[in-house]
Symmetry: C2
Subunit: 357 residues, 2 copies
Amino acid sequence: MRILLMATPVAPLGAGKTGGVTLHIKNAAAALASRGHHVTVMAPDGSVLPGVDLVTLPGTCQPSLASEAGEEFYPIPENSVLGAMWHAALARQSDHDAIINIAHDWLPYYLTDFFQTPVLHMVNMTDVNAPTTAEIARVSNRYEARIAVMTQAQAERLGGVKDPILVSFGLDLSVYEFNSDGQGGVAWAGRISPEKGLEDALAIARDLAEPLIVAGAVDDQTYWTRLTDEFGDSMDYRGFLATPDLQSLLGQARVVLQTQKWHEAFGIVTIEAMACGTPVVAYARGANQELVIDGVTGFLVTPGDKAAAAQAVSRIAGIDRAACRHAVAQRFSLPAYGENLQNWLDQALSGQRPKTA
Amino acid sequence: MRILLMATPVAPLGAGKTGGVTLHIKNAAAALASRGHHVTVMAPDGSVLPGVDLVTLPGTCQPSLASEAGEEFYPIPENSVLGAMWHAALARQSDHDAIINIAHDWLPYYLTDFFQTPVLHMVNMTDVNAPTTAEIARVSNRYEARIAVMTQAQAERLGGVKDPILVSFGLDLSVYEFNSDGQGGVAWAGRISPEKGLEDALAIARDLAEPLIVAGAVDDQTYWTRLTDEFGDSMDYRGFLATPDLQSLLGQARVVLQTQKWHEAFGIVTIEAMACGTPVVAYARGANQELVIDGVTGFLVTPGDKAAAAQAVSRIAGIDRAACRHAVAQRFSLPAYGENLQNWLDQALSGQRPKTA
């Protein structure tokens, strides 16, 4: 099939701000290509995605809904790049057998009805914007199998969304080197923004009297200033790292912390760490509950209980690093992802007519 | 032709808040019907429009852009009635030869490209929301003659909008009784909201040592409280009046004041007053510059110059009331409106293909 993948309108692909989404798009394109599909990615101007058929559009990027959680309205900016992308998708829809949207935005869900080519949606956040959540629910009620989620925890946070298809994410394991040693420090990686809860990880590391190794793009400058003021001495900040360097950093760590304040739809860093053999100590909230097998690939602790997290870190030598790598190879590999995506496409395209109307 | 008229999503038709838009829709439907077209109006649930084929949809109404002028984003609420209306329009587009949008909202302009049935847009505000203005400009550049404006002054405030068609509004003159006497007081009518500038009219009447007769729905409660605190004694407030009562009030007045702070796209109250024989003293800003013939149907004064306005009121006996009625009968009657609408439809439908693609 000829598949059009619609990327996020929040920033160009390849920018630090969209590290997770870029990997999401890149791996989805690779997984679909490995199943014999021709994939085109549409994204904002300035996007970089080597080896992929890429179409970019000009316009104003969307403000991040992740940082504006709970807004009453979905905001459309002047000369929206999201609007331009979907006009371009309309113009070329007959060149594609399916359109897969990976943007968590009201507009693509709303526009589902306006396309002859089936539009499928991969939801990669939870309930961060009420108009968007309601529109996802509407599409799920009107069309069979058009909505996919990345974890069950995510589906539970999208209350009105009916029968979403579970499509777990997958990694290209050849990019992640298994590090059987991993005698290094305590690490944290992610976009640096309040909902990601870096301050809890910093406090846990301080409890353990060791520095926290941090990698990620600064998304919220005010928050960052506050963190460096409070924890500057005990933070070993490495900046935003592309995957080759990030996986090396994660593999050298003896444990990776995941201390989110919000309900993550998925935890890419969690499976990246495990792919390198590094166990994860995570708050038992959102996706991490499904990604970390407590006592096997890391430990789950009560969200917010920093003492319990520090205690779990002190027991981390009891986790078999090979078991971490093995868990990812089984459940979150690129072939597994390709199979999940194919099953979803098959279901959505066989039931492509509206349920009503 | 079978024409679908899309109303505003700000409030149900017939509510005080939408007095102007309700009249706009009602008269457009009547003018089109008089040309032999079958007209269906689509509007929010709760709308009332006797004698017209009306389809209503449930959902959340839009916040008023008029009161939120200058917002950086166009806001989409949860379960938007605007969204529901345009999904319904999509489902029934093959029942119509043309769709005419009278809502000043980003979404209908954006969706123009998604319809096989030509979508035409009657712009009835000026540059109150940057994303919407930019989208109007886009449609005007992509399609021939799809954008209509109500006055040249309005077109000038929509800078990037290319070659809009002038479609002046029209009144059913049988509803407005010519009052040759008009020896009453000084009146003001309109939606009570800061941009309408009621406080200037109140100050002018106070200068003249007479009460101001006021009719209109209170749209901004804080503003209203401020006005009643400052001008309560000199304000003779009659509430929101339907057209039969409003025209009687306007006809009895010896002059009607129009003191807007913003650039009105059109001045319905101005031509309603003149239709009853009552001259208008207006700030020379926006549409009133084209509706009031200075020295013939009233006086135009420098915007904000309340002393000049009071002075103009004192000279109002020099205006021939029959000339006011005559000016409306010539330029702003229902037959004239029907002819304007027909010319627009002819141009838009003959040039319905995109200019580019």
